[in-house]
Symmetry: C3
Subunit: 364 residues, 3 copies
C-alpha cells in the first residue's frame, strides 16, 4: 500500500485521482450538471487508466511469461472495455461502436503519429525492427478487414437487413474471438520470439508486490466502472452543450480518454529512442480492440444490453478505420521514422477529427 502511495506521489498524472471523489460528490449534488460531470469524469478516468495499466503490468511481471503475456494482452484495453460495457448497458450502441472504431483510429494515427513526432524531435532518424512492425501491421490490417468489410459489403437499407446483420455479427464475433485465442497461442507460445521487444514493461517503474497489484486491479476496475457510469450518463447532453457531435465524442474523446495510459508508455518509449515499444503498443492495442474488445461487446450485449448489438458500422467509420490501418502499414513499412512522418500522420488524424466535429448530427 505504501508503494502504491509512493507511485501516486511521484507521478503528477496521479494527482488527477483527486477528481475521482469529486465526480461522485458532484453527481450526488448536481446530477443535472451534465457538462461539468462530463469534464470531471474525463479527468478522473485518465489517472485510473494509468493505475490499471501499471497494476496489470505488475501482476504480469510476477506470473511468468505465459500468464503475464496473457494478462497484458487481455487487460491492456480494460479501460476501453469497461467504458464500452457501461455504454452498452445503457443501450448507447452508437457510442459503443464509435468508440471501437475510434480506438483503432486513435491508436494507429494519433498514438503512432505523436510517437514519431516526439521521438523525431529528439532523434534525427529513428530506426526500428521493420520485420516485427510489418508482422503487426499485417495482423492489424487483417483484423480490421475482418471486422469492417462486412459493413461495407452489406450497405443497403438497414431496415430489411436487420436480421441478416444480427446473424452475421454473431458469427463474426465468435470467429474473431477464436482468431484472438489462436493469436495468443501464436504470440505467447509458438512464436513468442517475434514479439520479444514489444512488451509493455517499462524499465523506469518497479513492479508492485502481487497483493497490492491484484487489489489495485480489482478496486480500480470498480472505480472506472462507477466513473464510466457518470460519464456515459452525461456525455450526450454535454456533447450538445459543447457543440460536439456524438460521432466526435465516441471516436475522439472516448478513445483518447480510454487510451491515455498506453499513450504515456508509447510516447515515453519514443523519447527513449525505443520506437519498437511504441509501434508495438500502438499496433498491438489496435489489433486487440478489433479482435477481442469488439466481439466481446457483441457477445455480452446478448446478456446485459436492452437488445443485441450488431457490428454494422456507418460507411464513414469503415473508410476511416481502413485508411488508418493502411496508413499505419505504410508508415511502419520501412522501419525508419522522422518528425515529419509524425506530422503527416497527426495531420490525417486532425483531418478526421475535424470532419467528425463538423459533421451534422444527423450524419452517421
Amino acid at each position: 500500500m505504501n508503494q502504491l502511495w509512493k507511485e501516486i506521489r511521484r507521478n503528477p498524472l496521479f494527482w488527477l485521482l483527486a477528481f475521482v471523489p469529486v465526480v461522485f460528490v458532484s453527481h450526488q449534488l448536481k446530477p443535472e450538471a451534465h457538462t461539468l460531470l462530463f469534464l470531471l469524469s474525463i479527468l478522473a478516468i485518465v489517472p485510473l487508466a494509468g493505475l490499471l495499466s501499471h497494476a496489470t503490468e505488475s501482476v504480469a511481471s510476477k506470473t511468468g511469461d505465459m500468464v503475464g503475456g496473457l494478462l497484458n494482452a487481455t487487460l491492456g484495453n480494460l479501460t476501453e472495455l469497461v467504458i464500452a460495457l457501461t455504454a452498452l448497458r445503457a443501450g448507447q450502441y452508437m457510442l459503443v461502436k464509435a468508440s471501437v472504431a475510434g480506438a483503432i483510429v486513435t491508436n494507429t494515427l494519433f498514438m503512432l503519429g505523436a510517437s514519431f513526432f516526439l521521438g523525431g524531435l529528439k532523434h534525427h532518424v529513428q530506426e526500428y525492427n521493420r520485420g516485427s512492425a510489418r508482422l503487426q501491421g499485417g495482423l492489424l490490417f487483417l483484423a480490421t478487414v475482418a471486422l469492417f468489410v462486412p459493413s461495407a459489403v452489406s450497405q443497403a437499407d438497414t431496415a430489411t437487413l436487420g436480421n441478416f446483420t444480427q446473424k452475421l455479427s454473431l458469427i463474426l464475433s465468435v470467429l474473431l474471438v477464436l482468431v484472438y485465442g489462436l493469436g495468443l497461442l501464436f504470440s505467447l507460445k509458438t512464436h513468442h520470439e517475434l514479439f520479444s521487444s514489444a512488451g509493455h514493461a517499462e524499465g523506469g517503474e518497479a513492479p508492485w508486490p502481487l497483493g497490492v497489484a491484484l487489489a489495485t486491479l480489482a478496486g480500480v476496475t470498480i472505480l472506472v466502472a462507477l466513473v464510466s457510469e457518470v460519464f456515459v450518463e452525461s456525455v450526450q447532453e454535454a456533447a450538445v452543450t459543447l457543440g460536439m457531435t456524438p460521432a466526435f465524442v465516441g471516436f475522439i474523446v472516448v478513445a483518447l480518454v480510454g487510451g491515455a495510459a498506453e499513450m504515456a508508455s508509447a510516447f515515453s518509449g519514443a523519447l527513449k529512442n525505443r520506437l519498437d515499444l511504441s509501434v508495438g503498443i500502438a499496433l498491438g492495442s489496435a489489433s486487440q480492440i478489433a479482435l477481442f474488445v469488439a466481439p466481446v461487446l457483441v457477445l455480452v450485449s446478448y446478456f446485459i444490453g436492452p437488445s443485441p448489438m450488431d457490428l454494422q458500422f456507418w460507411p464513414g467509420a469503415v473508410v476511416m478505420v481502413l485508411v488508418a490501418t493502411m496508413t499505419a502499414l505504410f508508415v511502419t513499412n520501412g522501419g525508419r521514422s522522422t518528425w515529419f512522418v509524425g506530422v503527416l500522420t497527426l495531420a490525417v488524424y486532425l483531418v478526421f477529427a475535424a470532419t467528425l466535429f463538423l459533421l451534422p448530427p444527423g450524419g452517421p
Copy 2:
C-alpha cells in the same frame, strides 16, 4: 493410355472420376433432381480439373520453355473458363461475374491462406523470394484495379448507364487482353528469369507422353463442358434448396470447385517448404483470371451469349476483390510466413464467405 490409368489408380482424388458417368446417367433418369445433380457434378468436376491440369503440364513439359509456358499460362484456368462459358451460354451473367470475382478472392485468400497455414504447421517460419512475390503481387493489384475500378467509378443507376457500361466493358476487355499478351512476352521472353521458380511443374509426377496428354486434354475438356452444363442447369434451384444465395454459389462454390487442382499443387508446395511455388500459383492464377479469363468472357459473349455481357460488378464484389488483392500484397510483402498469418488470411476468407452466405438474395 496405360500411364493415364496408372496415374488414376495411384491418386485417390481420381477415384472421384467414377462420378462422371453417374452425373450423366442421373441427368437422364432424374433431370429434375437439382440438388443431387448439383452435388454430383461438383464431385465430378474436381477430378476432371486435376486431369486437365496434369495434361496441360505434360504437354507443356514436352514443348519447350516458351510454348510450354504459354500453354501453362493460357490453360491454367481452363476449368474455370469452361464452367464460365457454359454459364455464359445459358445467359447466367450474374453467376459468371460472381465466379470471376470469386476466383480472384479464393486464390488470394483461401489458396494463399491455407498454403501459409499448412506450411506453417510443419515449418516454424517459412521464407520465400519476396522480390518475385512483390512483383507478382504488384501485377495482380494493377490487374484487379484495371478490371474493377471502373465499376466503382460508375456506380449510379445502371438503367441509364447501360450503353456506357457496355462500351466501356468492350474497350476494357480489348485493353486487358493486350496487356495479357504483353505480360506473356514479359514473363516468358524478356524477363523469364524473374519467374523461374514459380513454374507449375511438380517434381513428384512424371509427365505423360505427348499423345496421351493431348488426347486427355481434348477429351477431358469436353467432359468438363458436359458436366458443367448439368452443373449450371441445376445450380440455381439447388442453391435455393440448400439455402445458399446465388452470390455465395458463384463466389465460393464455383471458385473452390474450379480451382481444386491448383490448390492441390499449392498446398503440396507449401508442405514441401517451397512457398515460392504456392505464392506463384495463387497470385499468377488470380492475375490470369483478371487479365485473360474475364475479358475473354466479355468478348466471347458477343458470339455465344443471348446478349453481350458487361464488366459492371456489384459494389460488394469490388470491395472484396480489392481488399483481397491488397491483403495478398501485404502478407507476401515481407517474404516470410507463419501459421498464424495463414489463420488470419483464412479468417478474412471465412468472413467474406459468411457475409455472402447470409446476404439476402435480393442483395447484390
Copy 3:
C-alpha cells in the same frame, strides 16, 4: 536574351511558341471558334510550361540551396496553378477540382508509368533508391488521404451539407498549407540529405543568368495566364464538340497539358537510367498538388471567385486518386522496375481515362 533565344532554337519543343501569338490573333478574329481556340491554346501552353520550368530552375540554381529548393518546390506546378486560378476566376469549380484530382492521377500513373516503360525499353532492370521512394510515396499517400477522405466520409446529399463542407474545406486548407510549410522545413532544412537525388536540375542544360531567368519567369507567367483565359473560355464548348466529358477534360487534358514540362524531365531521367529523378519528380509534384495547390485554390477562392470553393470531390475522383496513390506506393516499393510494370501502370491510367471519356456528362 541571346541565351534564351539559343535555348529556344535548340529545343524543337519551343518551336511551339509560335502558337502563342496565333492564339491571341485567332481569339480576336474568331472568338466563337471554340474548338480551334481550345486546340491552339493547348499547343501554346506546352512550350510556355517548358520555359517556366527552365526559368524556375535557373533562378533556383543561382540563389543557393535553401531559397532555390523553396522556389523549385513552390513554382514547380506554376502552370497548373495559373490555369486553375483562371478557371477559378471564371467560376468553373468543377474544372478546377477535376484538374487537381487529375494532376495527382496523371503524375502517379502516367508520368511514373511512362518513365518505367521508356526506361525499361532501354535498360533490362532499373534499380533506384527505394528508401527515398518509400518516404515520398508515404508522404503522398498521407497528403491525398488528408485531402480526399473527408469527401468520402461526408458523402450525403450535398444540399444540407453545404455549410458543413465549406467550413471543413477552409479548416482543411489551412491545415494542409501548414503541413506543406513544415514539409519544406523538413525537405530543405532538417532532413535535406534524404532528398538529395530528387532535384529537378538537369545536367544537360546550362542555367540562364539571373536577370534573363527572372524576366522570363515574370513574362511567361503572364503569357500562361493570358493563354489560360482563352483555354478556359473555350474548353466547355470545345469539349462538347469533340465529344469529351468535362470530367475527362479536367482530369486528363488539363493535367497532361499542365504537366508536360515535368514529364519531359521525368522521361529524360528514365532514359538516362536515373529513375530516382523520375520517381522524385512524379511523386513530389503530386504531393505538392495535394498539399499546396489545392488548399491555395480554396483560400484564394474567397478573394477572386464568384463564391468560395470547397474541397468536396465526387466519389469517383476520390476512388481514382486513392487507388492511383496506392498504385504508386506499391510499384515503387521494391526499388526495381521493368518495362512491364510501366505497361501495367499505363494500363490503369488508360482504364481511368476511358472511364472518364465514356462517362455520361451528368455523371460526376
